[in-house]
């Protein structure tokens, strides 16, 4: 396997607090890498640095072998790096189909074509079928349940056929049935060749799905390895239990 995403020495401080402190991390092509750590360990900040929402104070970011340090989220998206948000951010006043189409990526030249073209719709329909959401295709996203919104957000980022998807707590606030649904979709997509980096608190979910697991504490990577070893690692135990 080759490295799809490489981070070397990323740093980010807010005021005096070092949220991410000399953090290095590699996501192998074809993996479902978990990123875990106690609250405040810098997971979300690291996500924001990777996806270009925050500018790092230092460090280097490489995606598909290219230096992408300082790229904005849109550019990374077009290169195949995309993410979901913890709070299921969808566009509430747009229909489910439009939510997918807007994320499908269109160039400058396409700005004046209709909102939803025939080919946009057929692409969206395939995904909606896969996610079993065809019946809500024309509803505004605001009328979906929270779990459905999470699915919609996930489906939307797939519109652009990404190489790497960063999932920020895909199961947070979602009922058990929906967790299974989410897990199934991740597996299917993984099988289709998409790499995942997942921040997650649900350890059972992580253990079932992910390999390797990366543990972050105080903005640093303290462990990286297969899930079976995580629970035995003294550093990780320290970090979670606090000493």
């Amino acid at each position: 396997m080759t490295a799809l995403l490489e981070i070397v020495g990323a740093r980010k401080a807010f005021g005096g607090v070092r949220a991410v402190d000399d953090c290095s991390l590699t996501v192998e092509e074809g993996s479902i890498t978990a990123l875990i750590g106690p609250n405040g360990s810098g997971k979300t900040t690291l996500f924001n640095l990777i996806t270009g929402y925050l500018k790092a104070d230092g460090g280097e970011f490489r995606f598909r072998g290219r230096d992408v340090t300082g790229s904005d989220p849109g550019r990374l998206y077009r290169q195949g790096l995309t993410r979901t948000f913890q709070q299921a951010r969808v566009f509430p006043h747009m229909t489910v189909t439009e939510n997918l189409v807007v994320a499908g990526g269109y160039s400058w030249r396409d700005l004046l074509v209709p909102r939803v073209l025939g080919r946009d719709r057929s692409r969206a329909d395939v995904l909606l079928e896969e996610f079993r959401m065809t019946h809500v295709a024309e509803l505004p996203a605001s009328e979906l349940s929270y779990g459905q919104r999470k699915l919609l957000e996930f489906a939307a980022v797939l519109m652009s056929e990404p190489r790497l998807v960063l999932l920020d707590e895909p199961t947070a606030g979602v009922n058990p049935v929906m967790i299974d649904t989410m897990e199934r979709h991740i597996r299917e997509r993984h099988a289709a060749g998409v790499t995942f980096l997942v921040v997650e608190h649900d350890m059972q979910f992580v253990m079932r799905l992910c390999d390797p697991v990366v543990v972050l504490d105080n903005g640093k990577e303290i462990f990286s390895g297969p899930p079976s070893e995580v629970q035995q690692n003294p550093l990780v135990l320290d970090a979670y239990l606090g000493t």
């Binding site: 929402y53 989220p73 849109g74 709070q87 006043h93 979906l144």
Partner: protein, 349 residues
Amino acid sequence: MSIRSLVRGGVFVAALMALPLLGFEHWVLNLMIFTLMYAAMSSAWNLVGGFAGYPSLGHAAFFGLGAYFVGLWFQHHAVVTGYEPFLVLPIAGLIAAVVGFPIAWIAMRTRADVFAIVTITLLFVAQTLAFNLDSLTGGAQGLAMPTPPFELARFEWPFYYAMLWILLASMGITYLSMRSKVGLSLDAIRADEDKALGVGVHVQGVKVLSFSISVALVAMAGGVWAYYETFTYPQFAFDPIITIGMVLMCFLGGRGTLWGPVIGAFILVPGQQYLAYRLGGSQFYLIAYAGVFLLIMLLMPRGILPTIADRVRRRRAIAASSEGPPPADASPPTAGPGSNVPVPSGGAA
């Protein structure tokens, strides 16, 4: 929907086109000129303030730019037929767009609230420039326009139709952008700009584009206004109250809608001008005005159109549910699991 909106638009355009032919008194046409002007500008403002969600408070800077451009052009060119000032309007619009582009590029890097402040600052910069570049603008002495040589009976017609064309252009652009990916992008930007950026929407480009088009339309209206007024002055052309008018009408009618700003203008402009004419002497004019303003904001924060549309939809839904099972595609989603989870409001908590 498309047939109905076509009919609605056709009736609207035909009625306005025919209005001067019906032999109204001058004062009616005069009132209509200002109504159309504000409808056009509010509609143009809507592109940025309504659809993109960036409340510009500086649009009057471009109104003034258009007014001064027309005034200055005819310091050096003669007016013979009287129609020349209308012919240079596209140039005024182009200049406004070119000037607006870099300004939007800088100002739209900030958040919406800072953007509002930066644009109002821009308005005062423009006003200061108009006052201080007196060798160019005539400064505090004001700038006289050529006197329109039209015959009295149809004096208002050219101004009326010029304003009407700008309104139709503005509404046409709004309609097209709503139906195209521009509108899709703007909807996404307004709802959640960060998310939009993260799914590859050309956020900055679309915002700047809509700003440029918007201010170009406003500048053209400014040019017509100055010619009609026959005189312009920095304080009058670069007046915050002009921006506030556009914003208020847009909010009143319903921002982010095609007809909202037009409805807002058709209510507010005649209302205001009539009130000022009939009862303006009252000391309580300003208090009453502010009171109405506040009531609208608190009771109909989304504006008339969306509020009415909501009510109609709800009534229909109630009617439908009492008559029989709702149509399948309109039923609330119950199939998906997890529907018991509380739904956080808005995109960004």
